[in-house]
């Protein structure tokens, strides 16, 4: 028997599936970076990763001290 709850669940499920499919498609489309990964580019990207880790740690410390 078709219930409103069942229809709602199916609808939500298909929306979520649609989004995850879309994200997977985007990830696949851009899987290979097109910029030439020279040593300079690699160093810069590594710096950016470390910089982000630093900021995350800083934010974590802020929340830790706020508690």
């Amino acid at each position: 028997m078709i219930t409103i709850e069942g229809m709602f669940r199916t609808r939500i499920g298909s929306v979520i599936r649609g989004w995850t499919d879309k994200i997977t498609e985007i990830n696949r489309k851009y899987a290979t970076p097109r910029i030439r990964m020279s040593r300079g580019v690699k160093v810069v990207l590594l710096f950016l990763r470390l910089y982000l880790i630093f900021l995350v740690l800083l934010l974590g410390y802020k929340f830790w001290t706020m508690l």
Partner: protein, 422 residues
């Protein structure tokens, strides 16, 4: 040829150049004047009230910085025909793509809230209820995009951008001492000595001048406008004029605040307007109108920057030249950001101060990446060809990026831990 004929010929030629410029002007002028958004106007007002004319020289330094950064987006957009979000995905892969995109979406939404805070505060001075302000602003912003032409949107936006110049007549109302403005303002010095508070204000002024949304907005606007490689010189002139205007407006805000509010403990532009309404109603009105316009200008650019980015990443149709039925998701993003940001401002006891501080911290996480990607993309010879950065542009860009990363990081840290700079 006699003098009259030569003069007439040159006059006609000048008028023709101006007409072509006005046709092609847009992204650079709009983004630069929108740079003086509600947060920017507040920063300049508080700076003027705290240090008088003492930091005008510092704003002059920001002029080339703003131009060099934004000019790169013109070349990148005109050559690749891609927005910045899509360009990052394409060049650096999904990790950096998602990071930049999600960070931008969050940052823009939070910044949009701060624009609404500025607009509602400005119109509250005229006893207009925040709910009415949010409704009016949302309706105008929706009508601006619904007419279905980028060109029309751009020209309306330029009209609102022109209103940003209201601080120039406002400065004439306060009769500042020109000699004092020049002697105090143009000589590089640190009023009261170099200390933590002054450094915080220097960082705040840089932080409000170079923002991530500007990079994303201008590149997407260049693409939506349909600018080609041959239009790059016009785009550069547009950006140069816009950079000049943004600094001129900032200086006039400081002159106004430095003349009538110097020494006062001012925390926002709305507070300044409110105080001035009691002593000089014309000036208070000018400041309030300027603050509202600044918030409005920022809001129209920021909400569009997000919608363009969503469209680029998810592959949806994303152009102001398309009708709603042709680009439903693009307009849905625009309306969603607008309405939700407006609603947040109307929530009683919403943590608006916390949101304003959070914007500064989130901006610090995105700005360095956006700037670094910009320079790397401009050095991609395969894509940029003869429009890639020259050595001189790379040196200037690198110096600016390093300086901005250091200053914005310290600004973010001092926002998180104000006790460290006390």
């Amino acid at each position: 040829m006699d003098f009259g004929s030569t003069f007439f010929y040159k006059y006609r030629r000048f008028i023709k150049v101006v007409k072509i410029y006005l046709l092609l002007a847009g992204p650079g002028l709009i983004v630069m004047l929108a740079d003086n958004d509600a947060g920017g106007i507040t920063t300049y007002t508080v700076t003027g009230a705290k240090f008088g004319y003492g930091l005008i020289w510092f704003l002059l330094l920001i002029f080339p910085v703003a131009y060099i950064v934004q000019e790169m987006t013109v070349r990148l957009g005109a050559v690749t025909k891609r927005g910045h979000a899509e360009a990052i995905f394409d060049a650096f892969g999904p990790f950096w793509g998602w990071f930049s995109f999600l960070d931008l979406a969050l940052l823009n939404w939070l910044t949009l809230i701060t624009e609404f805070i500025g607009m509602t505060a400005a119109l509250s001075i005229f006893h207009i209820h925040p709910l009415i302000t949010v409704i009016i602003v949302s309706v105008i912003m929706m009508l601006m995009v619904l007419q279905g032409r980028y060109w029309t949107w751009e020209k309306i936006a330029i009209l609102f951008a022109a209103l940003n110049l209201i601080y120039i007549p406002a400065a004439f109302l306060v009769h500042p001492s020109v000699s004092e403005v020049l002697s105090v303002g143009l000589v590089p010095h640190f009023p009261g000595g170099f200390n933590g508070t002054l450094f915080f204000f220097l960082m705040a002024n840089v932080g409000t001048t170079i923002t991530p949304w500007m990079i994303f907005f201008q590149q997407s606007a260049v693409v939506d406008k349909g600018m080609k490689e041959k239009d790059i010189p016009w785009g550069q002139v547009d950006t140069l004029i816009g950079s000049a205007f943004t600094v001129i407006v900032a200086i006039f805000v400081i002159v106004v605040a430095g003349t009538v509010l110097y020494g006062s403990e001012i925390e926002s532009a709305a507070q300044a307007a409110s105080i001035l309404m009691t002593t000089n109603p014309y000036l208070g009105t000018f400041i309030a109108i300027g603050l509202f316009d600044a918030g409005f200008l920022g809001a129209i650019c920021i909400s569009l920057a997000s919608s363009w980015a969503f469209g680029e990443v998810f592959g949806w149709a994303h152009s102001l030249n398309l009708k709603i039925r042709e680009a439903p998701w693009f307009y849905a993003c625009y309306f969603f950001a607008l309405v939700t940001a407006g609603i947040v401002v109307l929530i009683p006891n919403a943590p608006l101060v916390l949101i304003t501080l959070f914007v500064q911290v989130i901006a610090v996480t995105l700005l360095p990446a956006a700037l670094v990607f910009l320079i790397l993309l401009l050095n991609n010879e395969e894509v940029m060809g003869k429009y890639r950065n020259t050595t001189a542009q790379n040196v200037a860009g690198a110096v600016i990026v390093i300086a901005i990363i250091v200053l914005s990081t310290l600004y973010g840290i001092s926002t998180l831990f104000p006790e460290w700079i006390a």
